[in-house]
C-alpha cells in the first residue's frame, strides 16, 4: 500500500509517533478493562440486591460485620410484608487476603432452598451440582469459577478452607461478579468456621448454630424494599438494613471514579497522541512540499491532497490503535492470569472497549491530519515546485 510506503519513508519518526500513541491506547485499554470489570461487579451486585434487603450489624459492603443471633430471623419473619427471611454466614476465605481491589474471596454459608424460590439471581453450575438441604451438616462445598481455579478444585476432590477439608460437589459458571470468588458451603459448616474467627471472649458466649452474619429478606410481592426497610427499622431496631438503592448509592460512586480516571487517560492520550501526530504529519508535508507541488501541477485537486494526508494520518492512528490494543490485551490477560490465584481478577476486556480504542485512535489520527492537510492543500503549485 502506498500509504504504508509513505509512512515507511521515515521509519524512526513514524515508529516513535506510533509507539507514543500506542502507549496511550494501551493505557486506555487496560484502564477501560478495569472499569469494565468494576462495572460488571457493581451491576452484578446491583442486580443481586435489587429485590431484597440485607440485615446485618455493621456494613456488608465493607465486610465489617458482627455476629447476630439466628433468633433475629424469626423476629424479622413476623414483620408485615416479609415473604421470608433467610440467615447466612459470610467470612473471608483467609485472614491473610489483606487489601484487594475487586471482590475478596469469601466463604458463604447458606441454607439451601430456604429462599423458597424467591431468589432471582441465578447461578448456574458448570460441573457437579448445587447445594441441597441434605448437605446440612456435611463438609461439602460449591466453588465459584475463579476460586475453583485458584484452589485447583475438581469434583470429588477436597479443598481446605480455614483448616477444614471440604469435598467439592459443584463448580459454578462464571458470573463475572461476587460469586466467582465464593466458596459456598452449608450454613452449619460456615457457622463452625465463623465462630473460630471471633475473639475467644466473644466465642465462649456463642453457640455456633445460633450465629449468622446476615439475614436476607425477600419482600412479599408488591411491597417496596424501602417501605419494608422502614418497618424493619421500627420493629427490629439496632440493625443495618441495606436495600438495592443503598447498594447502588454506595458503589455507584466507585464506578464514577473509574469512569473519571478513564476519561482523564483518554483526554491525556488525545492531547499527547494528537499533537505528536500533527507534528509528524506537518514535518512530512514540509518534506514533501515539492511532491505536493508536482501532484497539484499535474492535476490533483486540493481535496485529493487533503485526502491523502488525512488518510496517512488516520493510518498512523489505526496502526497505533491496533498495537496499543494488542499490548493492552496481552497485559490484561497476563495480570488476570497472575491475579486469579490471589482472587484479583481485575480486568475485563470487552469487544466494545477494543473497538472504542481502535476507533478513538483512528479518529484521533485523522483529526490530527486535518491541520497539516489544509496547509498542504493551500500550497501554490509553482511555489511548491521550486521549494528546496
Amino acid at each position: 500500500m502506498r500509504l504504508l510506503r509513505d509512512l515507511g519513508r521515515r521509519k524512526l519518526r513514524s515508529g516513535l509517533t506510533i509507539t507514543g500513541i500506542a502507549i496511550g491506547i494501551m493505557a486506555l485499554v487496560v484502564f477501560g478493562s478495569m472499569a469494565n470489570k468494576m462495572n460488571t461487579l457493581i451491576s452484578g451486585g446491583s442486580t443481586y440486591y435489587k429485590d431484597k434487603l440485607v440485615v446485618t450489624i455493621g456494613s456488608q459492603i465493607s465486610g465489617n460485620t458482627q455476629p447476630l443471633s439466628i433468633a433475629t430471623v424469626a423476629q424479622i419473619n413476623k414483620v408485615d410484608g416479609v415473604a421470608i427471611a433467610v440467615p447466612g454466614v459470610e467470612m473471608l476465605i483467609s485472614d491473610s487476603t489483606g487489601m484487594s481491589m475487586g471482590v475478596t474471596p469469601m466463604i458463604t454459608g447458606i441454607l439451601p432452598g430456604a429462599d423458597k424460590g424467591l431468589e432471582t439471581f441465578k447461578m448456574d453450575v458448570a460441573q457437579g451440582r448445587y447445594l441441597e438441604i441434605t448437605d446440612l451438616g456435611s463438609p461439602v462445598v460449591v466453588m465459584g469459577s475463579d476460586i475453583a481455579a485458584k484452589y485447583h478444585a475438581t469434583i470429588g476432590g477436597t479443598v481446605n478452607l480455614r483448616g477444614t477439608d471440604f469435598k467439592v460437589v459443584g463448580i459454578l459458571q462464571p458470573t463475572l461478579t461476587a460469586p466467582d470468588q465464593e466458596a459456598i458451603v452449608p450454613i452449619t459448616e460456615a457457622q463452625k468456621l465463623y465462630v473460630e474467627t471471633l475473639p475467644p471472649l466473644v466465642r465462649s458466649k456463642l453457640e455456633p448454630s445460633e450465629v449468622a452474619t446476615s439475614i436476607t429478606v425477600y419482600p412479599k410481592a408488591g411491597v417496596l424494599p424501602e417501605t419494608l426497610k422502614q418497618r424493619i427499622d421500627a420493629s427490629v431496631p439496632g440493625y443495618t438494613v441495606m436495600t438495592g438503592k443503598d447498594f447502588d448509592a454506595e458503589l455507584g460512586a466507585i464506578g464514577s471514579v473509574f469512569s473519571a480516571v478513564l476519561f482523564g487517560i483518554a483526554l491525556l492520550s488525545l492531547a499527547v497522541g494528537g499533537l505528536s501526530t500533527v507534528n509528524t504529519m506537518a514535518m512530512s508535508v514540509a518534506e514533501r512540499t515539492r511532491e505536493i507541488g508536482i501532484k497539484r501541477a499535474i492535476g490533483a485537486s486540493r481535496w485529493r491532497i487533503r485526502r491523502e494526508i488525512v488518510a496517512e494520518s488516520a493510518a498512523i492512528g489505526l496502526i497505533s490503535g491496533l498495537l496499543g490494543l494488542a499490548i493492552g490485551a496481552a497485559l490484561t490477560y497476563l495480570f488476570n492470569d497472575m491475579g486469579r490465584s490471589s482472587g484479583n481478577v481485575l480486568f475485563l476486556l470487552t469487544p466494545q472497549t477494543a473497538f472504542t480504542a481502535i476507533g478513538f485512535s483512528t479518529g484521533l489520527g485523522a483529526l490530527a491530519g486535518f491541520v497539516p492537510a489544509f496547509g498542504a492543500s493551500r500550497l501554490d503549485p509553482v511555489t511548491a515546485l521550486r521549494y528546496e
Binding site: 502506498r2 497539484r296 492535476g299 485537486s301
Partner: protein, 251 residues
C-alpha cells in the same frame, strides 16, 4: 486554429510588503494547434511566468489595467476557479519540469498512473495506457523501477510518459533538458518532436538552450516581462524527426 490565445496577460509577484516584481507586463500571445514552440529569454524575462499562466498553474492578474483574456481552444479560461483550472490541467494538459519531479516512493508506472488517476481514469484501462506511454518513451522494461533506480534521462522520460498518458492537447515543458547532457537532451527533444508529428500535440517549451529553440517550429523571445519577438515558423518544422538528435549532438 489557435489553441492558446492570450491578451493583456500581467503578473506581479509580491515578495514582501514593499518589494514587488512585475514578471509579466501585458503580453499578447497566440499558439497554433499542433505547433512546437520554444519560449526563450534570459533569467527574469518572464518566460516561466508566462508558461505558468498558459498552463493554468497561475491565473493572470485581473486588475491594474485592461482585463486579461486567455482562451483554450476558444474557451475563456482567464477567470476560472482553482478547481476548474485543476481539472483542465489534469485532463487536457501535460507537464514536464526541469527536475523530473517524480514521486520517489512510487514506481515508474505508478508515477505515470498518477496522471490517469487525477484525470479520472482508473483500473485496467489506466494501467494499459500507462504501459503504452512507458513503451512510447522506451521504458516498458523499467515500469517497476523506482525513480532512484533510474538515470536522469530515464527519469525525464518517465515524466514525459506521465505528461503524455492522457493524450493531452497541450504539453508544457519548463526547461525539460536543463538537467540532462546533450545526448539525453537530444533524445528528449526527439520524443517531443515525435509526439508533435505523430499525434499533433501542441508543445510549448521554456528553455534558454538555443539548440532546443532551433529544434522547434518557432521561437518566442522575451525580455523584461514582454515578448520582443514572436518568431517565424522555421524550416526546422519540415526536418524529419530523426534529424533532431543529430542537430543537438553536434554541440
Amino acid at each position: 486554429m489557435a489553441i492558446l490565445e492570450g491578451r493583456n496577460l500581467r503578473k506581479t509577484y509580491r515578495l514582501s510588503r514593499r518589494n514587488t516584481v512585475e514578471a509579466l507586463k501585458g503580453v499578447e500571445i497566440s499558439i497554433e494547434s499542433g505547433e512546437m514552440v520554444a519560449i526563450m529569454g534570459p533569467s527574469g524575462s518572464g518566460k516561466s511566468t508566462l508558461m505558468h499562466i498558459l498552463g493554468l498553474l497561475h491565473a493572470p492578474d485581473p486588475n491594474h489595467g485592461p482585463a486579461p483574456e486567455l482562451y483554450l481552444a476558444g474557451e475563456n479560461v482567464a477567470t476560472l476557479s482553482d478547481n476548474a483550472r485543476t481539472k483542465i490541467r489534469a485532463r487536457r494538459m501535460g507537464f514536464v519540469f526541469q527536475d523530473f519531479n517524480l514521486v520517489p516512493t512510487l514506481t515508474a508506472l505508478e508515477n505515470v498512473l498518477l496522471a490517469c488517476d487525477y484525470a479520472g481514469i482508473r483500473g485496467k484501462q489506466a494501467k494499459q495506457a500507462g504501459l503504452d506511454a512507458l513503451a512510447l518513451v522506451g521504458l516498458a522494461e523499467r515500469a517497476d523501477h523506482k525513480p532512484a533506480e533510474l538515470s536522469g534521462g530515464e527519469q525525464q522520460r518517465v515524466a514525459i510518459a506521465r505528461a503524455l498518458v492522457n493524450k493531452p492537447e497541450i504539453i508544457l515543458a519548463d526547461e525539460p533538458t536543463g538537467n540532462l547532457d546533450s545526448d539525453r537532451s537530444a533524445e528528449v527533444l526527439a520524443l517531443f518532436r515525435q509526439f508533435n508529428r505523430e499525434h499533433g500535440q501542441t508543445i510549448v517549451l521554456v528553455t534558454h538552450d538555443s539548440e532546443v529553440g532551433e529544434a522547434c517550429d518557432r521561437v518566442i523571445r522575451m525580455r523584461d516581462g514582454r515578448i520582443r519577438d514572436y518568431g517565424q515558423r522555421t524550416a526546422t518544422a519540415a526536418t524529419p524527426v530523426m534529424a533532431i538528435p543529430a542537430v543537438a549532438a553536434t554541440a
